[in-house]
Amino acid sequence: MRFFKTGLVKGILVGLLWWLIGFMLVEAIRVVMGLPPQWNTSLPAGPAVPQDTLKWIVSGGLAAYEPAMVVAAIFFVIGFMLGAGTMSDWLKWTRGVDTPMQHGPKEGQPSWFRYLSVDYSHKIIGVQYGVTAVILLMFAGTLALIFRVELAKPELQLTLFNDNLNWFNTLVSAHGMIMIGSILLGVGAMSNYLVPLMIGANDMAFPRLNAFAYWINVPGALLLVTAIFIGGWNTGWTGYPPLSAQAPIGVQYFFIGVFFLGLSSILGSLNIVVTTLTMRARGMTMFRMPIFVWAAFSTALIQLTATQLIGLSFLMVAMQRILGLGFFNPGFPDITALAPAQLWEGGGNPILFQHLFWFYSHPAVYIFILPGLGIISELLPVFSRKPLFGYKWIALSSLSIALVGFLVWAHHMFVSGMNTYLRVPFMLSTLLVAVPTGVKFFSWLGTLWGGRIELKTPMLFALGAISVFLIGGLTGPPLGTVTTDLQLHDTYYVVGHFHATMFGGFVFPFFAALYYWYPKAIGRQYNERLGVLHFALMTPAFWVMSLGQMLAGTRGMRRRVADYDPAWGIDGVQLAVTIAAFIIALSVAIMVINMIVSARRAPKAAANPWRSRGLEWQVPSPVPELSYATAPIVVGEPYDYGLAGSTYVQFAPPTLAPVHSAGVTGGD
């Protein structure tokens, strides 16, 4: 049974053992300190009848042992990482044992074993990220289907399992946060697989850290999923206190899960920045990098810095819950007029949470969309056979979106009760984002204009992404403008706008990328007809879904509410949105089946099926273990499609030792 020797299984088993140790440890400390084992004595310690145990856990009964549950979750993550073997090399270093960097499959193990175990090759890690992202995408999508059924008609009340009022909101919250996890992993998939290949490096700057950054997502995602089944949480993905300070215990597992997904973001982005700056092929100046690398680099700068703030804000709520640190606990009815002495007894401010939270979570949407927009810019020249229009503008627009993104967070808080003089400055900075985004749109149009367009599946998805992102982009300014936002805040209009930006900025380009680089990663060609079918189902369904959500929102449908008044006349719209959601789910299933079947049965792909100039297409597919045995030298511009006699890359004569030529050009 080789399966039980994989890092994944070992990680889960050791993690569960550590979970138990962590739980017992806290209980032991409580006993030593002379405290009762139960933390919250107002809750039942457990059901009298053992058959009811499962029901007790699912309805959040473990809240009686909340500190032990929290410590156990952290122990679970540590145990998982130790058991999976992500830290074995580092632990050996602390004992003075050197471990040389080894690449390639482990001796005596089949190739699939690498994908389920710790492996340092960025190509394996990229695929691991991608597969995990698609699995989480399907899981979170299924949650959405459940609550879309609830919303298909008024007065259904299907999600009232066990008379538990939290289920609907748990489904909504879990859909949101697990999708965000999936998007972060999808971004990681594209960055990890593509950046080293595109810049002519053989691996990332820190391969061990890269593996660590991937694997810590797995226990993080497991905790997020567990949170649903230990009582859930009713706060939405934002987790605002004071509600999150009183929510069922699932909220703690949600906090801890997100905390470790964030740690992965930070470590992964650090790796991308160092790789981009120091490992480019000879001759590849910053302005000769493929445009996706610019996007990944800008994304990494946001991830590296802003992510700390969501970790901090969630940590503060967790501390308030279990240690009583009252950051967000006002304690008095009117906190605007507290005497200083009262700060000894209260004075916490929930608006502080929103500032810290949105300082990450607004830039986070640029983390989600920038790589996708980079993919669109990457694919359009290939399938239009024309140079990319305004390369430098596109490159710098990614960077400026990333920077402006740091200055707009409070536009989520126009109705929060923050000081009203902050509204207009944040409105202006928000509308400023339209400028660099507009640069991208004009560049895309300029690239397509007069091109010889080939409508292959990746190109279809790139064009679909532009159409959907246009919907998302044009519906943004009404939300960024104070006057209209006061009306639209927390309605389904926001939901529709957000889904349009996420689908246009991430989902469509991610699928385009999956189809485009599938032959590169797998070495076989997917089924083109099924790819087109996927596109033909998903795009119109998405238009219906997004526009329908916005319509329902303008009629008064609010977010995170399980029911609505038939008198609003949105029954038909809601039903259409639900049907559209199911069509999208079906189309994604078609893609997954297409990719699984094609990996075994499809014909071998041509070496460069898209006639791309990219570095990664100049080596065989699938990419050999050592991507560039011969060091590539960049001698021209990356996107000069259709210009006679222009070359982007040459390969130097073989060298004896495969050494990175990085460091020869810029960056250090």
Partner: protein, 202 residues
């Protein structure tokens, strides 16, 4: 099996860049805590004893001197000074940590074996307690990890690991330790010096 060959100098340059990016990232964490302090406390601060915090601040600053001494010593192949300075640094770090724990947080063990927390200020003492425990706690966590790293390189140095040309581990630990020290230079005045002292109301 193919190993990707890298010259150690290139890898150390990358490591150094990675380390500094990590510090940039951490600056946002500590910056968020500082912002919370100013958001919640405004221009006030809780009235707390001043002598012990000043003393342990001095201890931490002094430890940075010994950390630097250790790094300079290994760069000159002076192993004896290296080992000794590392131990002094770790000891000063532990003194700082115990100072926070015992005198600031006020952990005491009662005669009957139970713990008591909060001689001066309790974690649940409104936002004064929350921010003070939050900031010193996050910083203390980093101090403890720094002491662990120092003990690891001390142990490796004892086994004869580092040399004048090859001591990236020492360099990384040293800049990490200085960084923690620098954070405290911002935290200490924010917690103990800035603003009008407000005595406990009860």
């Amino acid at each position: 099996m193919s190993a990707i060959a890298e010259s150690p100098q290139i890898q150390v340059r990358r490591n150094r860049m990675g380390m500094w990016l990590f510090f940039v990232s951490e600056a946002f964490l500590f910056g968020g805590l500082l912002i919370s302090r100013f958001f919640l406390w405004g221009n006030t601060r809780p009235e707390l004893p001043q002598v012990v915090p000043l003393a342990i601040t001095g201890t931490l600053l002094l430890s940075s001197f010994f950390m630097n001494r250790a790094e300079t010593a290994i760069a000159n192949d002076d192993r004896k000074t290296f080992q000794r300075s590392l131990l002094i640094t770790a000891l000063l770090g532990v003194i700082f940590f115990l100072g926070v724990m015992i005198f600031e947080w006020g952990w005491t063990i009662e005669p009957d074996g139970t713990f008591l927390l909060g001689n001066h200020i309790h974690p649940t003492s409104g936002v004064y307690g929350a921010v003070l425990y939050g900031m010193t706690g996050m910083h203390a966590l980093h101090v403890v990890s720094g002491v662990v790293l120092i003990l690891i390189i001390w142990n490796l140095g004892r086994k004869g690991k580092y040399s004048a040309d090859d001591h990236w581990g020492v360099e990384a630990t040293a800049i990490y330790w200085h960084y923690i020290d620098l954070i405290w230079v911002f935290f200490y005045p924010a917690l103990y010096l800035i603003g009008t002292a407000v005595p406990a109301g009860h």
